[in-house]
Each structure stands twice: as structure tokens, then as C-alpha cells.
Subunit: 495 residues, 2 copies
């Protein structure tokens, strides 16, 4: 691919000067349009050392309104970033809708450098690029168009460019300390770049390769290409806004006659005596094990799903009672804030990922996307369908980042739920737990059951299996949850 | 003060068991009420090692809904925190309205420990407590009631308690490694605590001293006191909500005949040649100096205020053109997001404070509180009046944290503004800059002038003086800004 950008493209200074004001006005104007849409374009500037990445970013800042631009440079990860999965820092840097994010260095940087230097092999590099594809597919689908520019220099041109920059004290600082070292391996870097382009050129996130020998040509090519892409994106967004939100089918899925939830032995039970004994033992172990998390550089994330009144809160309290209150945080999922809505769906969950040594417990979770949001039509079919993949990827990244993830589905029967609703209405300090919505949801019991089965089937991965808990007997459920967490922690921390 | 909590208060287990359910129900219920108000109580748990701080926090978690509690423990600051002013981490941990924040360790911890160990003297300790008072006064005024509990043990009781905890392997981990060391200096810590209580017991943020020998007495005393305080706060908030927002006077202030803005020589001007020469020199220096910021462990924050069309954006672009685009960020102040509204006024500015080595430029700033919000009645008189103090304190903390703060007021005359408004309407890529609101604001010219004069008078401190810029001639203004930043950076980085 790259040889197409070694043909000596140039732009004379007069044409550049003549065209610049018009392109600039158009860029400002499309930026203004973007600000009123639900888009947040993500611009990746990659390429060879000395190819003018930094000048290109400076140009965009000069020609556009800097208040709407957020430029991110990938320095070494800081300690908050190091204690979380690799992509946490990228999620954290995503622009809010209406803004434009510029990435100078990105999710490509580490894999490409490591592959070029032979620190990872081709298979691992392909795996990394697979993750990139998933990430960019999600971004594009969520209204974050990904526009990628690769600034290229031939070997000869790069040698000359580095020499020129280094000779002048005014520009020497711009040559990264690694540039000379990397240049010695030009061919390896070129090969890695070719692979990067091959593996991640997608219709929804295309690479534009730009010959970067001539400053005017490079600047104008990037500016015009960006302008076109932004205009297309703005046109689409405006047309979508005009068309209004499509009517979403509210047909509930039907559960299969035999499904994983119906195979649960719902008559499991524990006596008060058994319960006390087993819970106390499990809690003592949990106290010790969660204190050991920090030393092991691990963290725990436990999430709870299940019908209303399944006993999620009670199970959670039996867990937290065993832990130091400053180690854990319980997050109840409410409506997203407007900052959360201004980002891709999973953003609000990424932002709360625990640091090493901590425990985060979700009372309901990202699975709302494929449960309530699917059932109630808050998410479009396209949205909740791709959520399975996005969630699996999210959870795989947690596992890689040292997070021990446990997912609990607490099951109860419809009859048991009715019983508990009635009880809640008659107990003063439980009344706040029961709302009109609970009664409404109950009417869709079958739909929720079917959606839950789909969810369990599609997101029970080896890295993050679901634990199904028979919940009709609260004692049984609480002990099963506490012991499951205990056993998993013990196994993980022993290994 | 503390001897009142050495009298042997106890509560028998029967009474405790009998009262507990009622207190628990009431706490849950008041927590539900808080969730619907604009309050976010801040609970500080302080006291001696072994006095049961951690048990008290655990009790609150057990008795209340953990989903509405955010418990913060002050570990060692991490690197993001170390690179910002001391209070950044406290601001960052503030609960959002409707939640309850529990601080286990707080803004008191470091000063008290350092004072007790003789690492800071009494004067410095008083200065620290002064800062605490300002912080808590702001919190209380913003709807963040501050409720502080000091759990006390006499020397004898603490010795016994530490021995007991340490003897049992199950509780040994709860004794902080410093506890024994600190106990040897019990008298110093007691003296520091007495001073802490004396200096920071305020009507709007009272300390409750609790004798902590007996677990049941300690738990019940904290729980009941907290319950009362939360109920009072909820009552007040509900009464306020019912009364509705008070009508705010929209009378504009009148400027004095002689004021600091009218003394500016508005006919200052630069020729094109002078401008080019001086700007290029200043920009070259700025490029170099901003690159040196990181090595010096400093950062730069420049903010711009002034009438519409004063040329803030143009002056900012001449600054940023000189800087590496990945060193700076330009923040344009728009309406706050709902997460921002859920926190005290200055929160949205604290959250963007630059890390070391970075440059943050505000196009409009926190001074909106005493300018547009004052003039348009968005802030109550009480709110914008106390903002002067809060802002001065904020800026003092920046200076202490190594942030070089520059504040620019770009002045233009009313005639010049009219000229520029007209020009903007006729230039395609400037049209987006002019709105109906600009014309409306213009009608209140005198009010804005008077408010600006009040602001300059009350917030020009030695740590953060205002730089007034004669802005009728854009060349003059841009060069003055660039050279001012250059000179300040040169002076700061030389010292």
C-alpha cells in the first residue's frame, strides 16, 4: 500500500495559499455543524517519525476552533492507567458528542512498535489488530466516526527529513529520542505499518495514506480529506435527526420450552443453622481474601442481574459485610447522566473499573442493554444485538487487565416474586424498594426470561462465565453467592 | 474538649438491639429523602487508632443503602493527584447531589499527623485549618452538609484497645502500621486533635465527639446523631424546594465614573511590522518555555475574560500557535453538564486543572460567576458574593500546587465592539461567532463594566494578578498577551 505514497506528490505554495482560506472556512463550518449533532469524530494521526504528524495536528488546531478539539497524546501510561485494562486510557480520552478528538499516537502505537521491534510475533499482532477492529466498529456504530491518516515517508525521504530536523536546534526537540533507533529498523517498521493498514482498513474506519515529503501537499491532502469525511458524517447525522427515531418493535421474545433457567432446581434450600455456619465461614475467608487482592495486583468486579425482588441487594450486603468498607464500592445502575449519554454505551462502565486491590459491585450492570433496554425498546435491535460482542470484548479486556469478574444471575420463580412484592409493600423499611415499574416489568416475565436465556447463552465465556443462583430460598442464594466468590478468589489468588 | 468523652459512656446490648431496627429504618428513610433533594452530605469519620472508625463506616454501610454511599479512603496520593494542588483529590471525591460521601481520613489527616509529629509548627497548622474552614464553608453553602465525627479514646483505653486488637490474628490487620508509633506520642496527637476541634468547630460544620470505648454506645451515638442531622438537612432542603427559587433582582450595578478600566489607554497600537517582529520573537520563546514546563514540574493556566468580540479567541490562537498542540488544551466555557451541576460551582474547573508540564487555556472561566451569572441573575447575590473568596482560595491553591496562573481581561470600547459585531456578520467564517445573545449582552454594557471592575478589585491578588489588555487594536492586544505570558514563564522558570 505504501508505495502509492512514494511518487513525489507536491503542491506549490501559491495553490496552497489560494486554496487555504476556502478549506479553512469549510472546516470551521462543518465543525460548527458537528457541534450540533450527536457525532464525535475520532481522528487518528499516525505515520513515520519526521513525517509531520505534529505539524498536521497544529494545522488542524489553527484552521479549526480549538475549543471543540481535544488532542490526546499517548505518553507512557500513568499509574491509574497501569492499574486498569489497556484500553481504559483510550475510553477515558474519547471526546463527548459534538467535539472532535485527535489522537496523536493511539491504540495502534504500542502494538506496531512492539511488532516492528520483534517483541511480539505476527499472531499476537493480528490479535491486537482484531481488538482495534472491534473497538473502531463500536465507535463508528455509536456515532464516533473514525478517520485515520497515515503520513508516509520513503526510506530515502525519511533519512533526509531526520537529518534536516536534527541539524537545526529549533527543530531538534521534535525528533523523538527513539527516531534514530527506529530508523535503523525502517524496513521492520514499514512491514508493521503495511500489516497495520491491511488489517485495519475497514469501510467504517478507513485509512488515508498521505505522502508526507512536501508540507503543503500533506497539509492540504489531510485537510481536504478530513473535510469531505466530516461533511459526509454531518450530512448523515442531520438526515438521521430529521427522520426521527425509528419506531422500535415492542414484540417480546418468547422463552424456549426447555432453557437453562428452567433446568435450575428451584427448591434448593438451607436451614437457618446451615446458613449461619456456612455464611460465617465464607465471610471470614472473604475478608482475608479481599485484603490480599492488592498485594496480588488484582481486583474484583462482581455484578448481579435477575428479576426484581430476586434478592440481589441482600446477597450483595452479605458480601460487603465481610469486606473492609473502604475496599469496595457498590454501584446501583440508574439512568445515565448526560455526560454518559454523550459517550458510547459502555463508557459509563469503563469509567468505574476498579483499580488494583479494589472491589466493585454492580447492582445491575451493562447487561441492561440486552435485558431491559431490549425489552422496553430503549435500544434499537442493531444496538442490543451488537452489544453481545462488545460486552464479551469488554470482559475479555477486564480479564487481561487482572480483574476477576463474577457474574451472578439470581433466579426466582414468578410465584416467589409475587410473594415478595406483597411482603415489601407491608414492611416499612422495604417499601422504597417497590415501585410501579416493578409491577409493569412483571407483566413481561416471559420476555425477560427469554432475553436472559439469550444473554446467558451468548455471554458465558470461559473468561467470564455466568453463575446461576437458585434464589427462591434467600439463605441458599446468599450462601451460594458468598461461597462462589470465596472459591473463585481463593483459586485466582493461589495461582 | 476531649475529656467530656472519657466518662465511661456505655450502652447495654439489649437496648442497642431494641433500638437498632428503628434507627435503621429511619436512616434508610432519610437517605431516600436525601436522594430526591439537591443535597450531598459529606460525613467525616476521624479519631484515634483503634477507636473503631472502620467499624463505624461498616455500620453505616450495613444500615443504609450502599448504592447511595460513596466511601473514600485517603491512601497515599497517586501520581495524578501529586501533580495537582493538594485539594484536587478531595474535590474529585465529592459525592454528587443525592448521594452521601463518607470520608475515612480526609483533609484533616495530613495536617494533624504532621503537626503531632512536629513536622509543621502551630502557625502552619492554623493556616491548614483555615483552608479547611474555607472548604467546609463552601461545601455547606453549596448544599453539601458537612457532618464530622471524632471517635475518642483516653490514653488508657487506647492502650488497652490496641493490645486487644493486636493479640488476635483476625483483627491484627486492622491496626495500622503507624498505630504503635503514634501511640507513643499520644499526648502530641491529643493536643493536635484538641486544636483541630477548636479551630474547625463551626455552626455549619460541627464536630460530634464520641466516646469510643463501648462499641454499642459509639455506634448508636453516631447513628442517632447522623440521623438527626440528615433529617434537619432534608427538612430544610424540602422547605427550600417548596418555596421555589427566590426572585433575583435584575438591577444592574453602575460603574464608577473613574475606574480601572477607564484609565486604560485605549489608543495603544502597533504597526504591522512591529507586530510581526515582536510576535514572532515572543512565539519562539513561548515554544521553548512551554517545553521546559514539564522538566520544572510546573504547569500553566491562562484564562481570558472580556466583552464579546474583545479578541479573546484571536489572542488565544496566537499563543497556541507557538505551542506543541499536545501540550495545551483550550476549554471554552459552555453551560455546565448535569454532572457538573450536581457538584459545587468550582468543581467543573477543578476537574480540568492541568497536570505538570501541560498548558490549559480557558476562553471564559470561573469568573462567569461574578460577571454573566451576576448580571443575568443566574446566581443569587449570596452565591456570587461568596464566589470572590472561593475564587481567591482556589487560585491560591493553584499557585501552591505549582500552577502558573495568568488572568487576562481584554478591554474594548463600546464603539469598537459595535464595529466588530457588524464585521462579523459580513465575514462567512466569522458568522458563527455572533449570536442574538451578544446583542442582548451589549445592552447591559454598563453593568458588565461595573461587575468587571468589582471583580478586578476583589480578585487581583499577589499570587494571581489580572493583566489588563488594551484591546481596541488587535495587534497590540495579541502581542501584549504573548509577551506577558512569555515574560511570566521566563521569570517563573528562572527562579
Amino acid at each position: 500500500m505504501l508505495e502509492t505514497a512514494e511518487v513525489g506528490n507536491k503542491l506549490d505554495k501559491e495553490t496552497y495559499k489560494k486554496d487555504a482560506p476556502e478549506v479553512r472556512t469549510a472546516l470551521l463550518s462543518v465543525q460548527q455543524r458537528i457541534a450540533t449533532t450527536d457525532l464525535a469524530p475520532v481522528i487518528v494521526i499516525a505515520g513515520a517519525e519526521g513525517a509531520g504528524k505534529s505539524e498536521t495536528v497544529a494545522l488542524l488546531h489553527e484552521w479549526m476552533d480549538a475549543r471543540g478539539l481535544e488532542t490526546n497524546v499517548l505518553w507512557e501510561p500513568n499509574d491509574e492507567e497501569r492499574e486498569r485494562p489497556e484500553y481504559w486510557r483510550f475510553w477515558r480520552m474519547l471526546p463527548a458528542r459534538g467535539k472532535i478528538g485527535i489522537f496523536f499516537g493511539s491504540w495502534y502505537t504500542q502494538p506496531v512498535v512492539q511488532y516492528a521491534l520483534g517483541k511480539i510475533d505476527g499472531a499476537e499482532f493480528e490479535r491486537c489488530m482484531g481488538r482495534v477492529r472491534g473497538f473502531e466498529r463500536m465507535l463508528a456504530a455509536e456515532g464516533f466516526p473514525v478517520l485515520k491518516y497515515y503520513l508516509h515517508l520513503s526510506k530515502k525521504a525519511e533519512r533526509k527529513q531526520l537529518k534536516t530536523l536534527f541539524a537545526d536546534p529549533a527543530t531538534r526537540w521534535r525528533v523523538h529520542e527513539n527516531a534514530k533507533k527506529f530508523f535503523k529498523r525502517y524496513d521492520d517498521f514499514r512491514h508493521a505499518a503495511e500489516e497495520q493498514l491491511r488489517l485495519t482498513s475497514m469501510d467504517f474506519a478507513p485509512w488515508t495514506v498521505v505522502e508526507a515529503v512536501d508540507d503543503e501537499y500533506r497539509n492540504m491532502t489531510v485537510a481536504k480529506s478530513l473535510l469531505r469525511s466530516l461533511e459526509v458524517a454531518a450530512d448523515d447525522a442531520e438526515a438521521r435527526a430529521k427522520a426521527g427515531r425509528p419506531k422500535i418493535s415492542s414484540a417480546s421474545p418468547r422463552p424456549k420450552r426447555r432453557n437453562v433457567l428452567r433446568t435450575l432446581k428451584m427448591d434448593r434450600t438451607l436451614s437457618g443453622k446451615q446458613y449461619d455456619k456456612r455464611l460465617v465461614t465464607a465471610q471470614a475467608d472473604l475478608g482475608r481474601l479481599t485484603r490480599d487482592l492488592a498485594a496480588a495486583g488484582r481486583s474484583l468486579l462482581a455484578l448481579f442481574e435477575g428479576p426484581d425482588a430476586a434478592g440481589k441487594g441482600g446477597a450483595i450486603r452479605r458480601l460487603t459485610a465481610a469486606m473492609s468498607p473502604y475496599l469496595y464500592r457498590v454501584i446501583g445502575i440508574a439512568a445515565p447522566t448526560d455526560e454518559e449519554r454523550a459517550h458510547p454505551y459502555l463508557w459509563r462502565f469503563w469509567r468505574h473499573l476498579p483499580r488494583r486491590g479494589r472491589v466493585t459491585i454492580y447492582d445491575r450492570s451493562w447487561y441492561g442493554r440486552v435485558l431491559v433496554e431490549r425489552l422496553e425498546g430503549f435500544a434499537k435491535a442493531e444496538e442490543w444485538q451488537r452489544a453481545y460482542t462488545e460486552i464479551n470484548d469488554f470482559e475479555e479486556q477486564m480479564a487481561e487487565g487482572g480483574i476477576i469478574l463474577m457474574k451472578f444471575w439470581i433466579a426466582i420463580t414468578a410465584e416467589e416474586q409475587l410473594q415478595r412484592f406483597k411482603e415489601r409493600q407491608h414492611t416499612p423499611f422495604k417499601q422504597y424498594k417497590i415501585t410501579e415499574e416493578d409491577w409493569r416489568n412483571r407483566k413481561k416475565w416471559d420476555g425477560y426470561e427469554a432475553a436472559a436465556c439469550d444473554m446467558i447463552e451468548r455471554t458465558s465465556t470461559s473468561a467470564a462465565p455466568w453463575t446461576l443462583v437458585e434464589g427462591n430460598n434467600k439463605r441458599w442464594a446468599r450462601v451460594k453467592v458468598a461461597e462462589s466468590v470465596r472459591d473463585r478468589l481463593a483459586a485466582e489468588l493461589a495461582s
